[in-house]
Symmetry: C2
């Protein structure tokens, strides 16, 4: 692949050529072949995006195929409802005179148009696309993103811009986690108390949902709804307490009472679900219907004599069997309404038929086991965006690696792809984009590109490019950053705060805790430095590379040393600059120890460089003291980690010893 092609995901096959196709204001598109309404809307949208990206007004009228700059042609129309496994391949041929994009199905054309947009760059001779032939198709048919809209409600405008982002990186499933303990987010006309009492007023109407589904379909994205049951159901039983295993009352919302579980022993439960699923099956056209099924809290079942008696009477061994019983009855209802049932790992039970699609949050082991048993599955383990991992760590997770690598070809085919998950404990409409993007693009590449595409260096280089281009779609992962820092500071001049913010990262995995002093309020405000800080510190990354380079050079690389020193001097002086803000804003007070440690570490780093350069030893007590600061800096405070600490640790450890 020529390094000039900043494509993400990397196409299956690229044949570079010589020269380029200039894109100017005379650029036009012609459409031939099969008709599809998605193209009728998709081509003007493409022109609009090209116009935004280049800042050039473009003619929105279709051109004659003999004259067009880009000729697109579809061999046949797509399915009425987008299906798993529809052909998504395309061929894009660019010559210096024109470009041709062909595909068997409109889905491929939509993907090819995104590739074309990524190829447009300014050159000395104008905006241009390099001469190239690309034959592309996805590795996996299911390339999803789960968005939880229950724990924090996410408005449709925000979801829409995320669909735009997904389409840009060729992802094709939005898994919409629509209900959980905290909120029930869909209007039900048959069971209206669900949204009336379960949502605190924050839900989508059915008309809004239909519009949203059309928006997704236009972008080649299927929408799979999830209604989590029998656990994670407090918002349901807040509306219909008779569904619960234990008597209520229950309340939806954050910070209310604990997890609840539906009562699987009552026939009324299934009647209710039949009515509900019937309504939702009609609203959501996709063939798949996700029933959740994860993390069923055992306590309510254990504490209910009636339920324990039911288990005994039916000859079940335990709660797990009871859940399998529930799932089997649910399966019949879901099937009756024409849908294929999907659930999380826990739904796996020998009694369940092989049609069920299993989504694994537990790992490749569990996924491979399911595939061996004949179930089709998706991997989500390793792709949880809320864990704040670096993109490279997600990128290294492959659905076909680990236990899955030893599957037979037949079994391997059962692994349909994967889904990234954006759980919503700590996101708001303001911060969600920065938690999803740009990291999702790396996961999207994992699902689309050949397995051999896995160099993290190349990935990061292309991720940087794709990230700012995603801004043209209205995604706010870049644009919301400075405003959030200014809110924290209550001031325009945030230079010192920015230096701290760019040296830290939010704490990883499930270690975030809310210790922030607040009056007794409904919900925690997500307006702190941890919410503004990026999941991955580019500065820490770059500094680590410099340290590595310097050490590798046997401490001879003076350019690397100079750059390290320049960073260290900046960090060393930053605490004094930041202090007035830390003292003034209650939002920043908790960050004071981090700022101080950054300065201390920087001083240690500079001392270490001096010591290395002059080959002078430093006292052992110095080393012990500095390493204690390193250790402290890598423990969460204010839910943040000082990410440059491990690199400074390396410098400290590299100092000559007596």
């Amino acid at each position: 692949m020529p390094s000039t092609l900043n494509l993400m995901p990397v196409p299956a096959n690229i044949q570079p050529g010589t020269g380029q196709l200039v894109i100017d204001q005379l650029f036009t598109v012609a459409v031939g072949g099969a008709k599809d309404a998605r193209l009728d809307r998709g081509v003007p949208r493409f022109l609009d995006e090209l116009s935004r990206q280049t800042g050039m007004p473009l003619n929105n009228q279709l051109a004659d195929s003999a004259k067009a700059t880009l000729l697109i042609r579809c061999e046949s129309g797509g399915r009425k409802v987008q299906e798993l496994g529809e052909d998504e391949s395309y061929t894009l041929e660019v010559s210096p005179a024109r470009a041709t994009l062909t595909a068997p199905n409109p889905l491929g054309l939509l993907h090819g148009l995104q590739t074309f947009l990524q190829l447009v760059e300014p050159t000395p001779a104008g905006f241009a696309v390099p001469v190239v032939t690309i034959k592309d198709e996805p590795r996996f048919a299911w390339r999803g993103l789960l968005i939880d809209v229950s724990r924090h409600f996410i408005p449709l405008a925000v979801l829409k811009r995320n669909l735009d982002g997904m389409a840009a990186v060729k992802m094709n499933v939005l898994h919409w986690h629509l209900s959980d303990d905290e909120g029930f987010r869909v209007e039900s006309k048959r069971l209206p108390k669900l949204h009336e009492l379960g949502s605190e007023g924050q839900y989508y109407t059915q008309a809004e949902i239909r519009d949203f589904l059309a928006y997704a379909r236009d972008r080649g994205i299927r929408v799979v709804p999830e209604f989590d049951m029998p656990g994670h159901s407090r918002s349901w039983v807040a509306a219909y307490p008779e569904l619960a295993s234990l008597p209520g009352p229950y309340k939806a919302g954050r910070m209310a009472n604990a997890d609840t579980v539906m009562d699987p022993t009552r026939d009324g439960t299934y009647k209710f679900l039949d009515k509900f699923i019937g309504e939702m099956a009609a609203l959501f056209p996709d063939a798949y219907f996700h029933i959740g099924g994860d993390e069923v809290n055992n306590k309510p079942w254990d504490s209910s004599p009636k339920i324990q008696e039911f288990i005994r009477a039916r000859g079940m061994k335990n709660n797990r069997d009871l859940q399998a019983y529930f799932n089997q009855r649910l399966l019949k209802i879901v099937g009756k309404h024409g849908k294929i049932m999907m659930g999380w790992d826990e739904v796996l039970h020998p009694d369940l038929p092989k049609t069920v699609l299993v989504q694994s949050w537990r790992g490749q082991e569990s996924l491979a086991a399911a595939a061996r048993q004949g179930y089709r599955g998706l991997l989500s383990f390793g792709y949880y965006l809320d864990l704040m991992w670096p993109a490279s760590r997600h990128y290294a997770v492959d659905p076909m690696a680990g236990a899955a690598a030893s599957l037979s070809p037949e079994e391997a085919k059962r692994i349909l792809g994967g889904e990234a998950c954006m759980w919503a404990e700590y996101i708001t409409p303001e911060t969600i984009d920065s938690r999803v993007w740009p990291r999702l693009a790396a996961i999207g590449e994992r699902f689309w590109s050949p397995q051999a595409v896995k160099d993290p260096g190349s990935m990061y280089q292309r991720l940087d490019e794709v990230s700012w281009r995603l801004g043209w779609l209205g995604l706010t992962h870049e644009s919301n950053y400075v405003p959030m820092l200014r809110r924290l500071a209550g001031a325009e001049d945030i230079r010192a705060l920015r230096i701290l913010a760019e040296a830290v990262e939010p704490t990883k995995d499930y270690t975030r805790s809310e210790v922030f002093p607040q009056p007794p309020v409904k919900s925690v405000s997500l307006n702190r430095l941890v919410d503004a800080a990026r999941p991955e510190s580019a500065v820490a990354h770059r500094f680590a590379e410099l340290v590595e380079k310097y050490i590798q050079s046997g401490y001879q690389d003076s350019a690397a040393e100079g750059q390290m020193r320049s960073w260290l001097v900046r960090w060393q002086g930053n605490h004094a600059n930041l202090n007035p803000l830390l003292e003034r804003s209650f939002l920043l007070a908790e960050d004071e120890p981090l700022s101080e440690d950054l300065a201390t570490l920087a001083t240690a780093g500079l001392q270490a460089l001096d010591s290395i350069g002059r080959k002078q030893t430093l006292p052992e007590a110095w080393r012990t003291e500095q390493l204690a600061v390193v250790e402290r800096a890598m423990k969460p405070r204010a839910n943040l980690l000082v990410m440059v600490a491990p690199s400074i640790q390396k410098l400290i450890e590299a100092t000559p010893r007596p």
Copy 2:
């Protein structure tokens, strides 16, 4: 005024107190007094803005007046259609326990809520508003912004966010320049060819306009439509050539044929205008109707024997009399449809009655003359945002200064206020916000605050604060900057480009010229460095202050010298860093000489500092050479000026001479 109050515009009267009112998630509002639908919508919008600004979820329900944090009370409802001169005063009293906002009219409450939002800042004890009593009212009743949507079409979503910005700085008139040579932007049901043939498809439907007017009314903003006639009318005659003074055909759009003028001698013209104005008078509820009347091109009238004969036959002296005749007939039509006529300077003619409102683009002299003759007027001279002046220059222009200062009290009352003008030759939906904001806030303050409020230092300090706060309303003057630079570079890393961009400013006044090589296309792309660069370089401003400080200190201020050196070193090295981008992107090629001159000037500045510091003379030839570079740098190239050049010139001139 305590320096902690970052209010813009500065209120008429501030009584600071001690302590503060904490704003937390329990914040609530109660509304008492007269009912007004604008408040029913305005209070939730206020809560929404407060929530966005603080990042705290807030309860959207109104509270009991005994318990609310903020109690607002309106003495009476406003007029059905907002009127010029309605009482806009308000009183805001903040105690540590609660705040009370009262006003005689809903308009005052809307202003007071904006003041409250500007007062909210993070403090050590949480978000808070300082204890204070503010009694506020505007100096002028007419505080407007003209937006030209003809030369470049501006979508309603963009206009709406600008209305939000206007409301935030208490401006109350949008002057909507809806037609000009380039485009006719309103749907006419009676004369549909106007929008069909005059707009190239870019116009607002009447339904959209009604929605927009309601949006403006909700924010206390009147909307005055302008349909420019008899000149600036090419888009009209493209649809109805019989209106023109000379036979057509004509075409709307940019870069088509020249200015055209309506034929004032035909009765058909007035029949047409009666029909049209009747329709528009019903669509736009405001009492004022702007007929333009500016810059009538004499050629079409001069070249028409029929028109010259008409002038002679009626005993008129010249074309000016003919325009007065046109205006008098127009006045009757406008009056018949219940509106007060407004026009630009040129409508002034002894034959015109005193009811006409005159908008002066020519200057205070012209405005004062009109006031002396008994006409009411507005000042726009000095407030043209497209001239790319610094905020301080607009701020220094006062409607009551110059010739207006000597008016009698009676005459002075005829000056109703002023309007900033955003003409649209060189703006797009992407760049308009950065041309309007934040500078408009300084003009808004000129129109609202007491005349004595005029210190530019205080203005700039508050402007910096208000600028980033305006971002919460969705204005893109800040957020579009980096994406535009990245487009120019075609790359993520724009550090070097940013250093150049922040040292330059777009050329001033009407000196912009389009020399950019382009294929024969319909319109020029506004995607160059001049379009991204800010109208006012904060860096040049700061550097100039440093130079001033250094010179004032007798070259002793070593802190200032150190900071200057740090900038100069950065600029000196920047050309080498920027060069790869300049060579790669056709969009940047034209900026190469500027980048090179910046580096040369920086070297000269460093040499000058050395010379001054060491009291060593430099050869006269050096001085001559460097001053030539300064001169070149202050001449427009790529429509940009190197704004740090005059400060470097001062350093060069300060070097000791033999």
